[in-house]
């Protein structure tokens, strides 16, 4: 597994400066993605999952700094590249799609112009004719029924689902090996969400694509991801295979997430207490302890260690350390 590692984010720490304060959005996070693997980062809003994606592509806002860590993509630390070299990586090796597809499309350019511009930028040898051919091919790939008609349209003339297909086509134009999908279906309706997920799944197997899926939706993870990292307040609190996470959740936050979904769908049988999201506590303790239904006194005093269990699962929780010691 380790041999075909595509992306390795190691010990990443990102801070935001706001009103004279420095806030750790992501602290000491390690994430690995193999080739042709789909890895999910799941967490609620503000947990730091999008910050990781933005740090990988180095598109963090002005007031953010990467304080520590490395981002290794195919043996290169992206954090050491110049801005010019980084521009080569973006779009060409790593692409990103967003929750709002219209944000990745230029509103004043026709779809055809945007696609051909991108194609010709990444491959200066291709002429306009060849670029149009490739653009049609790409729209075909994302299952748009009438590519030549869509090429002549402006983004505002497309529905949300159609725009997300175009955004995916744009992202795939230079055959990247990694696609970062940040809440790719959260803005879409139920029937369109299913269509887009089917498309991403198909593209993953057709193009041997690796996907970093960023989401708050467990069912998305279950349907797409091979492995999953659960995030809470800037930390990874649990990592496991998607099956392992579901059948044997260990971190109280993971258990709570699973129970919440079951409860919402009316299939819950347990009485596990679910607590509303609140401001996380200070990093000098377990950041989840104010919401934790099973906390022990130690959780208030020291931050928990990240331990690996015999199954391979890793958990950031004092309760799991005691089970390892036993």
């Amino acid at each position: 597994m380790m041999n075909d590692t595509l992306l390795h984010v190691s010990d990443l720490e990102v801070c935001y400066r706001a009103r004279g304060l420095s806030i750790n959005a992501v602290s000491g996070v390690t994430v690995t993605i193999g080739s042709n693997e789909c890895v999910a980062l799941i967490g609620e809003s503000g947990s730091g999952k999008s910050t990781i994606a933005n740090a990988v592509l180095r598109v963090l806002p002005e007031n953010a700094t990467i304080a520590r860590g490395t981002v290794t993509f195919k043996d290169t630390n992206l954090l050491n590249l110049t801005e010019e070299q980084m521009r080569e990586v973006r779009g060409k090796d790593i692409s990103m799609i967003f929750q709002d597809p219209h944000s990745s499309l230029n509103p004043v350019l026709k779809i055809g112009d945007q696609l051909t511009e991108t194609i010709m930028t990444h491959d200066p040898t291709s002429g306009r004719g060849k670029a149009i051919e490739r653009a049609t091919e790409l729209l075909d790939l994302v299952r748009i029924a009438d590519p030549s008609e869509i090429l002549g349209r402006y983004p505002h003339q497309l529905s949300g689902g159609m725009a997300q297909r175009v955004a995916i086509a744009l992202g795939l134009s230079s055959s990247p090996s990694l696609l970062i999908a940040d809440e790719p279906t959260s803005a879409l309706d139920l029937t369109i969400q299913a269509q887009i997920l089917k498309l991403i799944k198909r593209l993953m197997s057709m193009l041997k694509l690796s996907v970093l899926l960023i989401t708050h939706d467990l069912s998305l993870v279950s349907n797409l991801a091979d492995r999953v990292y659960v995030m809470y307040a800037g930390n990874i609190v649990e990592e496991d295979s998607t099956d392992g996470l579901h059948s044997d959740p260990k971190h109280p936050y993971t258990v709570m997430l699973l129970e919440a979904v079951k409860k919402l769908q009316g299939t819950s049988t347990s009485q596990y207490s679910i607590t509303e999201s609140t401001k996380p506590s200070e990093p000098s303790s377990c950041r989840f302890h104010p919401r934790c239904p099973v906390l022990i006194s130690r959780c208030r005093q020291e931050p928990p260690p990240y331990v690996q269990l015999p199954s391979g699962k890793k958990v950031l929780c004092w309760l799991s350390t005691t089970s390892v010691e036993k």
Binding site: E44, S45, S159, G160, G161, M162, D189, L190, T191, I192, Q193, A194, Q195, L197, K198, K201, H216, L218, S219, L220, V221, S222, N223, T242, D243, H246, M256, L257, L258, A260, V261, K262, K263, L264, Q265, G266, I274, T275, E276, S277, T278, K279
Partner: protein, 338 residues
């Protein structure tokens, strides 16, 4: 049944006119011939995707919009035919909670001022204790902590509780909730839905949920209406809709719900209804779902199918599905491709 009807909507239409260029005007048929009845202490969920007309329907129910055709009746009276004075009791009794608690609370006002507004508008006296009681009814305790706060000091869940408290202020008989939990994290969704359910039990309230989050509507129970392109295509009890759906669109929606268990997800795969909801400017002829429908017959593009009854509470606007499936339980997934 009709003895305790609180609100009824009869053959309501609401069209919007959009200018397209200098001469052309287009008609958006947002709600097209919809009828609905809400009884006292009923729960009614209206489900649909964006563009189905569900939010327009919500605005019609609370009187924020006037129907172009058809009637809204509250306790037998059409609120638009009442005098202004008589209409205030309608507005007091039928309240609304909006989707986005970040937008529906004025950021420059304290919680105290936000909660006293309904009393001021309706000229009803109130004290701090009245407001504190409201806060404790939505489980914001201790209430005195909240009165002097501003919305930005509260989490999304707490803000939605404030919005709910505000809707409860004047002792309403019905609350229309437009996507009340869509903007919230899952754990917070559970809390807010629990609150709504317990309010419903305690307060004798009719709750009307407008939502696109079909998977989460099941435990709410009550009646479910499914909307597509401005029309209600199927209506029934929660069990009827979730366990014995007939309309191909309802079946497709239920099929699009993703499995949460990864092994189940692998076994089942992802089903999807192909195509997209047509524009309400230019809806397809006949049944509006027919271009996406896997069991459509030639007649579907000609006649707008009338709704007919499967049971006393279950109505479907599709003549083909019941004919195909009869009244036996059938494999819902069989009509859509993986």
């Amino acid at each position: 049944m009709s003895g305790n009807v609180l609100l009824s909507i009869e053959n309501v239409r609401r069209y919007y006119f959009v200018r397209k260029g200098f001469w052309r005007r287009e008609t958006v048929k947002a709600v097209d011939d919809v009828s609905l009845e809400v009884n006292q202490d009923d729960t009614h969920a209206i489900v649909g995707e964006s563009g189905s007309g569900k939010s327009t329907l919500a605005r019609l129910i609370v009187g924020l919009e006037k129907p172009d055709e058809g009637e809204i009746r509250y306790l037998g009276d059409n609120p638009f035919e009442l005098t202004k004075k008589e209409r205030t009791s309608f507005h007091r009794d039928v309240q609304m909670v909006f989707q986005n608690p970040y937008a529906s609370l004025n950021p420059r006002k304290t919680i105290k001022s936000i909660l006293s507004k309904p009393f001021k508008v309706h000229g009803i006296g109130h004290s701090d204790d009245t407001l504190k009681e409201l806060l404790s009814r939505v489980d914001l305790t201790p209430p005195s902590d909240y009165l002097s706060k501003y919305p930005h000091e509260l989490s999304g869940g707490q803000r939605q509780r404030i919005a709910i408290a505000r809707s409860l202020a004047l002792g309403p008989r019905a609350i229309v909730l437009d996507e009340p939990t869509s903007a919230l994290d899952v754990t917070t969704k559970v809390q807010v839905l629990d609150l709504l359910k317990s309010l419903q039990r305690q307060e004798n309230l009719a709750l009307i949920f407008i939502s696109h989050e079909l998977p989460f509507l099941r435990p709410i129970g009550g009646t479910v209406s499914v909307m597509y392109n401005g029309k209600i295509v199927e209506k029934g009890t929660s069990e009827e809709i979730f366990d014995h759906p007939y309309h191909p669109y309802t079946i497709g929606l239920l099929n699009s719900i993703l499995e949460v268990d990864p092994r189940e997800a692998k076994r089942r795969g992802i089903f999807s209804v192909e195509g997209e909801m047509p524009s309400p400017v230019n809806p397809p002829s006949g049944c509006r779902f027919h271009p996406r429908c896997p069991i459509a017959e030639p007649s579907c593009s000609e006649n707008d199918p009338p709704a007919f009854s499967i049971s006393r509470s279950h109505r479907v606007a599709c003549p083909i599905s019941p004919k195909t499936f009869g009244d036996k339980a059938f494999d819902r997934s069989s009509i859509y491709a993986k």
